[in-house]
Assembly symmetry: C2
Homo-oligomer: 314 residues x 2
């Protein structure tokens, strides 16, 4: 139960302030976002997706994106990430000073058209445009392509693994530093997770990025375990399980950061996150979104008797 | 997604009618129990723990145990199981005609005393007495020892793996056919599940029985996956996640049968259970226990688009 190493074995990439907050109807006040991000940092999280750069008329929850980035940047040692849908959003994100951007690119042709009204090929071109922009104005910034609907699609059903490998490879060829795989629709299973990450790794090697799993059918942690088994070391999750994909009908529920950290730490895998402080970070989330349901089995059950943890942030 | 074999690859042992019903305050009427068991059988479940044989003054929910066993026996091909706390309960179970009994034996000395007010050594003697009784009056009946608190204890904290191996080995030496491992307190993690099942198998070989996991901290399915990875092929679970251990404070929540079957079937592992019919089996459970919370992510999200399943019961 005690992690021996001081360097985390896995990177927990917290997506709540972006993925979570853009999925709920209410808008969290900026000051509450600051307090929540501060609490996440205090718990030891070292990569946080803090916002998305989309027009405020589409997502009023993200109108303060630049301000939130500037606040997050006051924390040394934290990788400040933002989601960007296109080159225009990327320009705003780079100007705000983010360290890393993530752009979703669908492996499903049908989902791509329904979600962003663009083909997969057009989205790969957009990645190329984003890379050019980054090279020009902020060459140190990392670009991740998040391959969405990688494990299945609510519109077209099955998504062939060839399609996932193709989209991931094209995004890397376009200049992205990483391609991660997202179970946007909660259709992944552990056998598929192992197969698909192995196939993607065979194509793009260590440019294989995060596992972004959903808990739609309860398999979120089992799928993270399966991904870990085949060498994945970065995991997206959301405090309180906030968020999911607002475009995929019937799909909801990110993996709960608290439960994910509990699983890894209990296994002796160092996350760098202090679980007790992570539970404390739920308070500003709940204060900033009164009445919004917040999930998590570990917070409900409490930590087991005899729990000890030698965390970085401890 | 389609299981090719007609012989199930894993055995889902449904414990809801025992573990679930004895954990809730309300008593399900006998006729509702019959309807629920019928629906479970119709879905393809082939091992069901239908009741426990304990004095009705302690567990009024189980006052109709013998009647429930007799009803379950009308279904050919179903292994009818009962929990027995001791030799006296075993006698009643054998007289009622069960095919298999399971007796819980704690690996934690503290939990054994708190739960049944007997030492582990006394419980192992009880197993021996049960075996003698079985040999005398119903030699075909199988006896399983369910090693409880195998992964941790809410009273004493850590439970040493040596203790688990010792208790399991002693139960087999006493004449039990199988020893399964129970995460009574929801403290198991996947690394520990793999280690402990490997150690127990090294000691008692193919007499290693079921994985009985709880979802207390959300790790139920991940732990089942870990157990499958090291060769476990029988899994206890409960429809709607009903039940858990009423004696372990803060511990609740069996693995949800619906989610477990979804995970295995999605992986191409044949459970013999028809998932659509399994979802239908929730209706008699809910009708028989009005107002009782019933869990499950797969029932809530529904089956994914394109879901097909070649199930035995289909």
């Amino acid at each position: 139960m005690i992690s021996s190493s001081k360097t985390p074995d896995v990177l927990i990439s917290e997506v709540g302030p972006r993925d979570g907050l853009q999925s709920v109807k209410a808008t969290m006040p900026t000051a509450d976002k600051f307090r929540w991000i501060d609490a996440l940092v205090a718990a030891g999280l070292r990569e946080i997706e803090v916002c998305s750069f989309v027009p405020a008329k589409h997502l009023p929850q993200m109108a303060d994106a630049a301000e939130v980035v500037r606040h997050a940047l006051t924390h040394p040692g934290v990788t400040v990430m933002a989601l960007v849908p296109n080159a225009r959003g990327t320009e705003a994100a780079l100007k705000a000073g983010v360290h890393k951007v993530t752009i979703p690119v669908s492996a499903s042709a049908a989902h791509s058209l329904a979600n962003v009204r663009r083909t997969r090929e057009e989205m790969i071109e957009e990645v190329r445009a984003i890379v050019r922009l980054r090279d020009e104005i902020a060459p140190g910034v990392k670009i991740e392509a998040g391959i969405s609907t990688a494990f299945g699609c609510t519109i077209q059903g099955e998504v062939r693994s060839e399609d996932v490998v193709w989209v991931a490879s094209e995004c890397i060829a376009a200049g992205a530093e990483e391609a991660g795989l997202s179970d946007t629709t909660g259709m992944a299973n552990p056998a598929q997770v192992r197969r698909l990450f192995n196939k993607v790794r065979a194509a793009i090697g260590d440019k294989t990025g995060a596992a972004h799993m959903h808990n739609t059918r309860g398999l979120g942690l089992a799928n993270c375990l399966a991904a870990y088994d085949v060498g994945v070391r970065t995991f997206d999750s959301s405090l309180g399980g906030l968020g999911g994909c607002p475009y995929a009908h019937g799909a909801s529920g990110n993996v709960v950061t608290e439960d994910l950290v509990f699983m890894f730490e209990a296994m002796g895998i160092n996350t760098g996150v202090n679980l007790e402080k992570l539970l404390v970070a739920r308070a500003p989330l709940m204060a900033g979104l009164p009445g919004e349901p917040v999930y998590g089995m570990t917070p409900e059950a409490g930590l087991p008797k005899g729990w000890t943890q030698a965390a970085l942030a401890g």
